[in-house]
Amino acid sequence: MSTLSMCQTQLGGFSFENCKRNAVLETEVTKVGCRMPAARKTGTTIVGVVFKDGLVLGADTRATEGMIVADKNCSKIHYISPNIYCCGAGTAADTEMTTQIISSNLELHSLSTGRLPRVATANRMLKQMLFRYQGHIGAALVLGGMDCNGPHLYSIYPHGSTDKLPYVTMGSGSLAAMAVFEDRYKQDMEEEDAKRLVRDAIAAGIFNDLGSGSNIDLCVITKGRVDYLRPHDMANKKGVRTGNYKYKRGTTGVLTKAVTKLDLEVVEETIQTMDTS
């Protein structure tokens, strides 16, 4: 953009124009003593487990920005296709955009083949894209779904390596959750047992890791049915205030009172729902 005249057409995609400027800014800022703004991460516990007729994905709901909780009830289980869902840990924007791009690609692919998409396809698309960007896209994912060959569960790391396993955990609380899995996982569990196991694993992550917290979301995927339970369990409820500091009516004496009526008519009424949790 700094040339006298543009001779060639611009290409789309990532633009690295500001990288040098950012590097210089960072050194200047650390000299003064401040810090560069940090990206919002989902220090997280995400898990997945395969049971007899399907699989269960679980996630906590806290998003952190450094040492502050940025979102108390964020949704970490993303939709990829009607039979495939993906939990995301790492940089929140990266997981969001990556899963949306892969979801679009899978939709186009399934329209072109005329079949329900397979989990292995989503896995390969994700790992090829993450490897192309050499880990600079910080998205650690747990991908699970049900297709014609049964339930499949993959864990995908930011640099592009994948593992196909019967139970996986990712995120900062992964060790706490994996401890629960290693103790109580059995092959061919029932759905209720699997849901309880995932709930306990996420709870272990929530209570033993600072980066995870708030509620537990569950997603149960079986043949022809997906149960998205949000929230499945509110592990950390905010406390209720026991005292009231409001003054009672009549504390201040009233001297005079004058009432003016305003004539207003309701023209339009709209309701906008907000997430007040």
Binding site: L4, C7, Q8, Q10, N105, L108, S112, Q134, H136
Partner: protein, 142 residues
């Protein structure tokens, strides 16, 4: 998408020329078109991914054509490249946005979405190239 047999194709990938000085007609820095030169800007890429992203499409194509040649013989990549060259000529003048529909369909880009379509869409670019200069550059007159 990606093909196997990468190891045998490594020698065919595009050599890293990357950041060299923009030489003009007489082999000297072309200040009019590419601005003032600075050794620091040109020797090192500003980001680890800059070079690999710039050459990504080229490398993919080279790899795919090599594999295709090994499997089906020389005629297959030749025919494909001929079609690409023909489709690349169906365009508007350089300073206007062309849809590249034929080229995208041939390459299979009409069935995939990636960061090229979402970020920095050239159709939404805030700067417009100067028509005369761009056409002259394309025709090699300048």
């Amino acid at each position: 998408m990606n093909t196997r047999g990468l190891r045998s194709q490594l020698k065919d990938s595009v050599p890293v020329t990357g950041m060299g000085p923009q030489v003009g007609a007489y082999g000297v820095q072309d200040t009019l078109r590419s601005g003032f030169s600075s050794v620091k800007n040109e020797l090192l890429p500003s980001h680890a991914l800059e070079l690999s992203e710039k050459n990504f499409q080229l490398n993919q194509d080279k790899m795919n054509f090599s594999t295709l040649r090994n499997i089906q013989g020389l005629h297959a990549p030749l025919k494909l490249q001929m079609e690409y060259r023909a489709a690349r000529q169906i365009q508007r003048l350089p300073f206007l946005q062309s849809s590249h529909l034929a080229l995208d369909t041939l390459k299979g880009n009409d069935e995939s979405i990636s960061f090229e379509d979402i970020l920095n869409d050239p159709a939404q670019s805030e700067m417009m190239g100067e028509p005369h200069i761009m056409v002259e550059y394309k025709l090699g007159m300048m």
